[in-house]
Symmetry: C2
Subunit: 395 residues, 2 copies
């Protein structure tokens, strides 16, 4: 009577959602200040003041019909040109507005790209740990998501396992760096090795294997670490970007796909992106926020809170005896759980009202995700509880 698959997808609560709701119940019972909810990835840094200023300027300077009217399907041409030039200024690329397709954030961008690429029997490869929604996005196009197990020493790419999984059905590989949930940033060496394999396999199979760069956390990178801009390394790259994290605008759904000229058959690819946007009704990204991000192009992201929080939590967890790869970006830690069963570990953590997400949700069991885009004081007060939790395992 209805689409069973849609019912399943809509009725099965995500782990994160379940934890969040549990947290709300506990908060009602014991007080919100006693709940240490590390489950959500909602930025707690407010949008910078220049966002509000840009909105006010637009409302005061432009006509309502221009502000709130339809743009063309790929987005406002002036906005796309400004954003292209801003990317060029930072990464020495040579994009113009026609290389951008505005979308309702990175999730929409990825979905549109999967839909544009996907043909029968296609496979898309992701590297664990990975954003779990990739799976239903890929499957809804009729293709299959193939997961490469994590390289848990550093959360760079496990190339031996990757090479076992790449084959003539591989349509594209998706990377997410800085990574949710590990916080890892792929090094230039990792990218170069990845690209060498993609080049070799594309030649071997006589068809391009595309590289999709899902990068909503690009701006949230620490210690001035370089996050390589992938179109410069591999011509068949599509970049999916969002302002959700960089400008703390997750609810506004604004981002873009970059489709470089160098792509094999740019015109056909851009048209397929447009076609996918059309059937998924992801055309004409929200118009006011198209103008807002154009006005704010190139302005800095304020990552100071994440630096403070990340350092505090990382050091606190190490002190409590946890093992954790030091994050280089994003706002998550992905430590090893203190027992092999990460679900059991996260259940046990609830005793202290520490709400953590099991690693298997990200394709990487034996770990847990702790999001530190929360109040700094909450983190500080949680540290003794992590110590108590760890002590249980040392008895």
């Amino acid at each position: 009577m209805i689409a069973e698959k849609m019912y399943e997808l809509g009725s099965k609560k995500s782990t994160i959602r379940t934890i969040f709701e549990y947290g709300q119940e506990r908060a009602a019972a014991v007080g919100a200040e006693n709940i240490f909810d590390f489950s959500l990835g909602n930025p707690n840094v407010p949008a910078p003041d220049f966002i509000k200023e840009a909105i006010l300027d637009i409302l005061n300077e432009e006509e309502p019909c221009a502000i709130h009217g339809y743009t063309i399907a790929p987005g406002n041409p002036q906005v796309r040109e400004i954003l292209a030039q801003s990317i060029n200024a930072r990464f020495s690329t040579t994009f113009t507005g026609k290389n951008l397709f505005m979308t309702a954030g990175a999730a929409a961008a990825i979905t549109v790209v999967f839909k544009a690429l996907s043909e029968k029997a296609d496979e898309f490869i992701a590297f664990a740990p990975f954003f779990p929604e990739y799976e239903c996005f890929v499957e809804s196009t009729g293709a299959k998501l193939v997961v490469v197990p994590a390289q848990i020493e550093d959360f760079q790419i496990n190339f031996a396992e990757f090479e076992k999984r790449i084959n003539s059905h591989t349509k594209a590989v998706i990377v997410n760096s800085p990574n949710n949930p590990s916080g890892a940033v792929y090094s230039e060496a990792t990218i170069q090795k990845l690209v060498a394999i993609l080049e070799e396999k594309s030649a071997q199979y006589g068809q391009p294997i595309f590289l999709i760069s899902d990068e909503p956390y690009r701006e949230i990178a620490y210690d001035n670490i370089e996050v390589p801009y992938l179109t410069k390394y591999y011509k068949n790259t599509l970049v999916c970007y969002s302002y959700s994290k960089s400008f703390s605008l997750p609810g506004e759904r604004i981002g873009y796909v970059v489709v470089p000229d160098e792509l094999v058959d740019f015109n056909r690819m851009y048209a397929a992106i447009a076609g996918a946007g059309r059937v998924l009704t992801h055309v004409n990204a929200p118009s006011l926020f198209q103008k807002v991000v154009a006005r704010c192009a190139g302005k800095p992201s304020d990552i100071s809170t994440y630096v403070t929080n990340g350092t505090l939590l990382y050091n606190g967890l190490l002190e409590a005896g946890f093992h954790c790869v030091k994050p280089q970006g994003a706002f998550y830690l992905f430590p090893q759980s203190l027992e092999a069963d990460d679900v059991a570990f996260c259940e046990r953590a609830k005793k202290y009202d520490l709400l953590l997400v099991p690693g298997r949700d990200f394709g990487c069991p034996g770990h847990f995700r702790a999001s530190y885009c929360i109040n700094t004081d909450t983190i500080r007060r949680s540290l003794p509880l992590f110590k108590k939790l760890a002590a249980e395992y040392n008895k």
Copy 2:
């Protein structure tokens, strides 16, 4: 290498887009004031002042994290409750927030509903003239769109043709009243007859046939004509609404689906809507504008310009000798073309720089669409040209 179907959908320019681009070229050649572009459905009435005031109030009164942060997938619970109460106040319904799922406008709402309902071999029925994008939205779910020919006398429903097309594969029927492109509003008698057939056929086939009401033009109805609220007539109705036209916010992508309690198996249906929203990444509709429309709930749409324009164009075309069903809503006229071949007619109209859309684009040849959400003076200056065009056919 890419999805051929997406390439086709993205590369084939729509008729309206082709006309629009032609108009831009002509404007460059002969001056914009000499082009009479009746092709686009972009509201020319600016968003009312209360929209700007609501944005400013929200920016001044609320925290940035609350304004621009993620809402839950179906949308802000307070917003949904306010909108539900607003619908109840107008239509004596009994919805609560849990009956609403916020979407990025009506197009997203329809797409989500099609995806939530569609199973293998399903058929969806639309009544000509209809919004042409229904076809690719339905087909992308794997289902088929079945079109009932127009009843050109009044653009109500051609029931004889409808009954020929309804069968055990019919999953749902979609109606759009006030109608794009005809301007017709389905009368209560039409709705009652439609519902009687749906009830009978649902019983006959032992499964519900759903009714989808696509109603972005609900507020744009003339002479106080009543636009029946369909959930009150048929329990298995899903309403798809948008603020694009009522508040002149087409670029902001804000609307909702109403899922009534009375629907057969409400819980499964709402979950399927949520699942469809998830795979199509139509969750968390733009957050600022969720708050804006909640603040403006129940405020009136300013349709005075459309009344003026519609009257002017309708009378002018009648005087020129056209035959046209008088519109009762929306902002389009859908007159008969002066030769059977509506494409040839629209080509001929270009001689006078009158840019019109052939009726066959809406499943109704022998007609053309003239959108009157344009400058009133442009309409006034176009009338002598329509006369000249008509005179060509009277030679």
